[in-house]
Structures are given as structure tokens and as C-alpha cells.
Amino acid sequence: MSGRRLRGALSRLVAHPAFFLALVATLLVGCRWLSGGTVQILTFVLIAVIFAQSINLLTGLAGQISLGHAGFFGIGAYCSGILAKAHGVDVALSVPAAALLAAVAGWLLSFPAGRVRDVYLAMMTLGFGMIFYEIVREWNDVTGGTMGFPGVPSAALRTLSILGLPVDGVTYFQIVLLVTALVLVLMRNLTQSRIGRALFAIHVSEVAAGSIGIPAGATKQLAYTLSGALAGLAGALYAHLVGYLGPESFALPRSIEVLVISIVGGLGSIAGQVLSATLFTFLPERLQVFAEYQFIAYGIILTFSLVVLPKGIAGLLLEPPRFIKPRALKRTAVFGPDPSVLQREAGGGSLEVEAVTMRFGGLVALDEVSLRVEPGRITALVGPNGSGKSTLVNVVCGLYRPSAGRIAFEGRDVTGLSDHRIALARIVRTFQDPRLVPHFTVRENLLLGAHRLLRHSGVAAALALPSALEEEARQLAAVEAVLALTDLTAVADRTVSTLPYGTRRMAEVGRALLAQPRAILLDEPAAGLSEAEMERLAQVIRDMKAMGLAILLIDHHMDFLAELVDDVVVLDSGRVIYRGDISGMRRDPGVIAAYLGDEAVHAHA
């Protein structure tokens, strides 16, 4: 218990702005009394912090592994070094230019990288790092090749001047410190904004993210671009610290080192990265043994850390980070719940599926299926396992492109739109297995649903501008109302992974509601629910009906459906075999043979 209390206290301390300001101020002033060597090591620490944040953003937040980050670091270093030395560009300009170039490189890499995942992504990023290394080695005229590139204006060599003013080691440290502080503040703001939450959403499930309107492709591009920029910035600052650039500084070991720092610090935790960067920069300097066996130590750490200490130092010392700005939450408390999201909206049209056929190779999963879901009505889609129900939902929601046929919503053709565009067209779904972000709280998951309604820019989010906070607070007020409706208020601040299955299901329905859909497709929402939970769910579905939503409900539970639904469509082997009301379905001989017959046998067995 005391361990937990200590962690709580430590987390509050680390998160407190006063602590952060005091730390920065102490270093800013105190560095005057430190030896030149120590100041230099501290500058290396800061550079490692920025570099580690770049991995943290890409791998920790967005879940995209990179084994070639030394490439971005090197692009930044060489760009700024070459601009400053060979072209006489002021460092105040060359460093931002370097970050920009690395950002462009990240953006470019995101296109091939966005097409692959897992091991292929690891290999591709490894390839990227290797190609960069080979280019630097061979492009003698520009990079100096294997001989290296000496004479970059550097603080250590006292050749650095910024905006005409000479900069010594201490002043350079102070500048880098301010840059690092800025990076940390921006990172923290981003993590606690729609951007950070979207990155986590694609990390956990691209399909689920798409279903609430978060585009996986564009989100990844953003992650690569920002990560490239941070790595490039770190590289440029490194160049003007050391003054000499050689290809070996940007080879695989550097990519490995930053990965080690990031993993040991705890992926996803900003404070953890800072601690870890400090540790791994000071250790080899202060501990000869560590320096000697550094590479072996890194290897051992990589081999076992994710198993032994999956959340790193941060997981050990600190509470898990949260993903909504406390200031936005405070503002919401003033508003109170805003039920307008649950009010009936005028107008609306039906969701029409016309002769949709879906083939996988030779298998026909859907065979000219047509159905119509009217606003303010609940249409049940039933059928034996493998009859094509989920496939139909996947086709409607843009995960599969139908082989033939047409899907229209509110009079507009939405056939073949990608999944996030379908969500923007206000068709939202839930999944057979709840796909929430497990380490988000219920409230954070619900707010994720409102992603498409948060329109403020990434810059506004990074700077935490009042307009951005205002918008978050307004959506959080809507979240309050949905929490109350779905009976989740009591568990709003619990992380989803600690909650029972039924509660998670309800949270997923709540998240879908936050996206303000006009049509909702519920894929077996009652599966695995207790009697009481089913009761609650039925009430929520009735509320949705009252809101005028077009509802498609897949379920096997006939008693559950009987009380709820207006229309029934029965699928068997990809074909519609019945369309009508539920009592008619129970009498229909074709349905009995295909579906109920089977169930009746089991019921009596």
C-alpha cells in the first residue's frame, strides 16, 4: 500500500508544473557552477531525452516499431552541420531546417512503412537506417564519407555562434535545456489531446480506430513526421555539440541505444524517458565497467526488459499517464453533463444495402444481399454462424470493398468508402469482441469516440490553447451524459483492462454513441452479458431508437431480440432467406430449417 502511495506522490510531483519549472530553473542557473565536463554530459542527456521522445512518440504512442531511427538523427546532424559549415547558415536557422528535413524524411518513410506492420516494419526501418548509413559513407563530396565531416561549429570547440553571439558550453547547455523543456511540454500536451489519443487508438486497433473516424494512414503519417522532426532536432543539436560527424555515429548501435533508452524508460511515459536517458548517458561516463560491456549490457536489457519490466522504470516508479488534460476536466465540472448529444435529431434517412455480393477467392460470403435499415427502427440481422452477418457489417463499414452491389446512406452512395469515411458519414459500429484501448479509462475511451467532432488543429492541441481546451471540455460534457445513460459513471475513471466484460461492452456502445452516429451497427452486443446487463443494454438500444438512429442489431438471443426489434432479416450461407417481423420468422419453415430448427434441438437436449 505504501508503495502505491509513494508512486502516487511521485507521480503528482513529476506532473506538477511547479516541479518542472523549478527543475528547469535550477539547471538553468546551477550549470554555471558545474565543471565543463559535467555540463557537456548534461547536454548529451538532454539530446538523448529529445531523441528518446521521438521513439516514444512513434513506438510508445503510435505502436510503430523503428530499428532505423539513427537515420533521422543523422539526417538532422548532417543537414545542420553542412548548412552551418559549408554554407554559413546561422545555427538558429540550420537547426530548425534540419528538423524540418528529418520531418520530411519521416513523412516520406511513412508511405512505404504505412503499408506494412510487425516484422516487416521492423525490417523496413532497419533497411532505412542501413541505406542512410551507406549513403553517408559513400557520398564523399557532401558528407566527407568514411573520413567524416569535421569543423562543424560547435560549443565544445568554442567555434559556435548563434545570431552573431558566441556560444560556449554553458550557454549551449542552457539553450538546449530550454528547447528540451519546450519539447517535453509539447509532447505532454499532445499526449493529452485528440492527437495523442488517436495515436494510441491506431496502436491498439486500426480497425477500431477507423470505425470511429480515425484514419489509420494519416495518423501514422503524422506520427512518422513528428518523430522524424524530433530525432532530426536531437541530431542537429548533437552536431553542434561535438563538432565532428562520422558515419559510425549514425549506424545501427545508435538506433539500438535509443530503443534501449525508450524501452527501459517505459514506452508511453514522458517522465520515464527522461529518467532513462539520464541513466544511460551517465552510466557509461561514470562506470568504467559499464562502458566496457555497454553493448553486451544493451543486448541483455533488450532480451529481457519487455518480459521482466514491460512498463519500464516509469511503470515501477510512477502511476500510468492519463490522456485527458486535467484543465479540460475541471472546466467540464463547471458545465455538468450535456445531454444534447442524446437528443433526437431531425431528418435522417435510411441505410440501404442493394444486391451486395462479397467474394473471397472462390468463397461467396454474401450473395446479392439487400436490406434496408430505417431511422428510428431496430432491424435485427440473424442467422447461423458463418452465414455472413459480420461480413455484411464489415462491407457496410468499409473494411471490405464489395465485389458487387451498392450501399447508400441518407440518399448518398457510400459504397467502397474507407472505414473512417464511413464513420464521418455517421455510420458507426461496435465489434463482436470489444475493441477499446485497454489502458485508457472508460472516460478516455468514450472521449475517443468524439474524435471526429473535435476539430481543433494539432498546433492548438500541442500548445493547449484555450479554444482547444474549451472544445475538449464541451465533448467531455457529452461524455458525462453518455456515461450516465450507459450506467458507467461509477467506473468512469477506471482503466478498461480492470473492468469485467459486460462493462467493457457497454463502454464500447457508449463510445459509438459519442461519435454521434445516424446509423449504428451492433455486432452481437449482448453476447456474454448477464441478465441485468442485457436489460440495461436493451434500454440503451431503445433510447437510441428514440433518438431516431437507424439500428442494425446482430444477435443470437431470440428473447432479447423479440422485445426489441421492429424488423428481422435472416441470412443463411450469405443469402437473405427471410425478411419481415419476428413472429413471422418463428413460423417460417425456411428459417426453422436453417436456424431455429438447430437451436430448438439444442434447447431440448
Binding site: 513506438t59 505502436g63 516499431i65 530499428l67 508511405f111 512505404p112 503499408r115 506494412v116 506492420r117 510487425d118 516484422v119 516487416y120 521492423a122 525490417m123 523496413m124 532497419l126 533497411g127 532505412f128 542501413m130 541505406i131 551507406e134 549513403i135 559513407r137 559513400e138 480497425v207 545501427l252 539500438i256 530503443l259 524501452i263 560491456y293 553493448f295 553486451i296 544493451y298 543486448g299 541483455i300 536489457i301 533488450l302 532480451t303 529481457f304 526488459s305 519487455l306 518480459v307 514491460p310 473471397f360 477467392g361 464489415n394 473494411l399 471490405y400
Partner: protein, 296 residues
């Protein structure tokens, strides 16, 4: 056909067949667990370095080779037990095992550098000397190249036969298709997974010795690029297909040697990595592979 071109083609085919062998080693574990050992390159290096070391201690060459292969096989078991299995059990996607096997490779590389030094050491001539040659169509053909080619190709064909024709091969297929189903049907999945890692490590060891033989030297860092090239070969042909690995390996060998010969030796590897990125982006299933149909 001029001599230079011919020698490049021959060198390309020869190293390409080694790349194919490496790709095959990667394939084996990819079949059974959908994982790759990123430390595979270090196993190749270690096998070659140990062979040098053991033979320098006065051990007969054949015994030195066998001894090194045994060590590498044991390390393969270690990787499965301590790097792959816990990472898969912990969940969280591929991140865990990519990082843990990479770490394992780094440890091996670091240890080898510590004990054998990071200098390149000469590899003894196990199969003929670099000067031995036969004459084919009036061209000198290095015997070493021919033996390496013959060994690689026959290993690949043997493995393909094993997988296609034997009960154990069928079991490997069953595990690769659906491990849980295989387990329910009484197939010893654990054993097959472990076996795949041992076999994969042995292949890496053989590939290490063969490429050391062609190159003439080994150093602690030598496996890393090679395993990447093996991966390029695998991706080019389509991960998981043996004949794809062979075709991919030969293609990578030929392309990199020709580029190296006519454009610049510096571009030899860069072109292969560029090929890797392009291939992954454009046709991840490879030239011979079929796209996977996945259910959302």
C-alpha cells in the same frame, strides 16, 4: 560473354544461394511461430568464429564444424525458450520478440567481440582453396563457389522434400496453419516449434560457415548484413516459400554483385536494402507468394 560478367554472375549465384539458405532458416521459424530470430546473423557469425577458434586449438576441421553447429543448435533452443516464448506469452504483438531476439543477437556479437577481438580473422579453407577451379565453357569456375552452390541447393531441396513428403513435415504445416488446432489434434506443437528453432539455427550456422568460406574472413559484425540480405531474399520470393527463398536469394545475389561490379561496390548492399523497402511497400507477399486473406 566476357570474363568479368561471367565471374560476377557466378559469384552472384554462389552468394545468392547462401542468402537463400539464410532465408530458409528464417522461414522455418516463421512457419511455426510467425516470428523471426533477429539474432540469426549473430548465430551465423558465432558458428564461423567458433569453427576458426576450435580448429586453431588443434581440433580436426570436421570436428570443429560439428562442434560449432552443436553450440549454435543449443543457442537456438535458448532463443526459443528465453526470447520467443516469454515474449509471445506476454502478448503485445511483434514488438516483444523483435526486441528480445535483437537483444540476444547483440549479446552474442558483444561477447564474440570481447573474447575473439573485433578484428577480422582468416577463415580456414575447409572446401578446396580459393585458387582451385574447374574449367566450364572455357571459363575458370572457382570450386569453392560450386561447392557452396551445390550444398545450399541440395539443403534447400532436402528441406522442401522433408516438409512435403514426411509426417513431420505435414505436422509443421499444420502448426503453421493453426497452432491451437494442431495442439487439439495431438500434434506436439512445442516440440515442433523447438525443432524449427534448432533447425533454423543449424541452417544459420551452415550459412555462416559457407559465407565465411567465400569471403575468406569473419568478424563479430559480419552476420548482421547477411541476415538482412537473407531477409531481402525471403521477402523477394515471398516469406514462407522454400522455392521463393531460392529464387529470391539468387536474384539478390545476382543483382547486388552486378551492381557492385558495374556501378560501385559501395552500392552493393544499399541496392539490396532499397529493393527490400520497395518490395515490402509494393508487394509484401513476394513474387511467388499469395496475398494472405485475413478476416477483420
Amino acid at each position: 560473354m566476357d570474363d568479368f560478367f561471367f565471374s560476377l554472375v557466378l559469384a552472384g549465384i554462389s552468394v545468392g544461394s547462401v542468402y537463400a539458405l539464410i532465408a530458409l532458416g528464417l522461414n522455418l521459424t516463421f512457419w511455426t511461430t510467425r516470428t523471426l530470430n533477429f539474432g540469426q546473423g549473430s548465430l551465423m557469425m558465432l558458428c564461423a568464429v567458433l569453427t576458426v577458434f576450435l580448429s586453431s586449438q588443434g581440433l580436426a576441421m570436421m570436428l570443429a564444424v560439428i562442434g560449432s553447429l552443436l553450440v549454435v543448435a543449443a543457442l537456438g533452443m535458448f532463443v526459443e525458450r528465453f526470447a520467443i516464448r516469454p515474449a509471445l506469452a506476454a502478448g503485445g504483438g511483434s514488438m516483444g520478440w523483435v526486441v528480445s531476439t535483437l537483444g540476444f543477437g547483440i549479446v552474442l556479437q558483444g561477447v564474440a567481440a570481447k573474447y575473439f577481438g573485433s578484428q577480422a580473422m582468416a577463415f580456414p579453407e575447409v572446401l578446396f582453396t580459393a585458387q582451385d577451379y574447374v574449367t566450364v565453357f572455357g571459363q575458370h569456375v572457382s570450386l569453392q563457389y560450386l561447392v557452396v552452390l551445390a550444398l545450399s541447393v541440395s539443403l534447400i531441396l532436402l528441406l522442401e522434400l522433408f516438409v512435403r513428403k514426411t509426417v513431420w513435415g505435414q505436422a509443421v504445416h499444420a502448426v503453421s496453419h493453426d497452432p491451437e488446432l494442431a495442439l487439439v489434434q495431438g500434434i506436439p506443437v512445442r516440440l515442433i516449434v523447438l525443432g524449427s528453432f534448432i533447425a533454423s539455427s543449424l541452417l544459420a550456422g551452415v550459412a555462416g560457415i559457407l559465407s565465411a568460406q567465400i569471403g575468406g574472413t569473419v568478424d563479430p559484425a559480419f552476420g548482421f548484413d547477411l541476415v538482412l540480405l537473407g531477409f531481402v531474399a525471403g521477402v523477394l520470393g515471398g516469406m514462407g516459400t522454400s522455392l521463393g527463398a531460392l529464387a529470391g536469394g539468387l536474384a539478390v545475389g545476382l543483382i547486388s554483385k552486378l551492381v557492385g561490379g558495374y556501378i560501385s561496390t559501395a552500392a552493393e548492399h544499399a541496392i539490396a536494402f532499397a529493393l527490400l523497402m520497395a518490395m515490402l511497400a509494393l508487394r509484401p507477399q513476394g513474387l511467388l507468394g499469395r496475398p494472405e486473406v485475413s478476416k477483420a
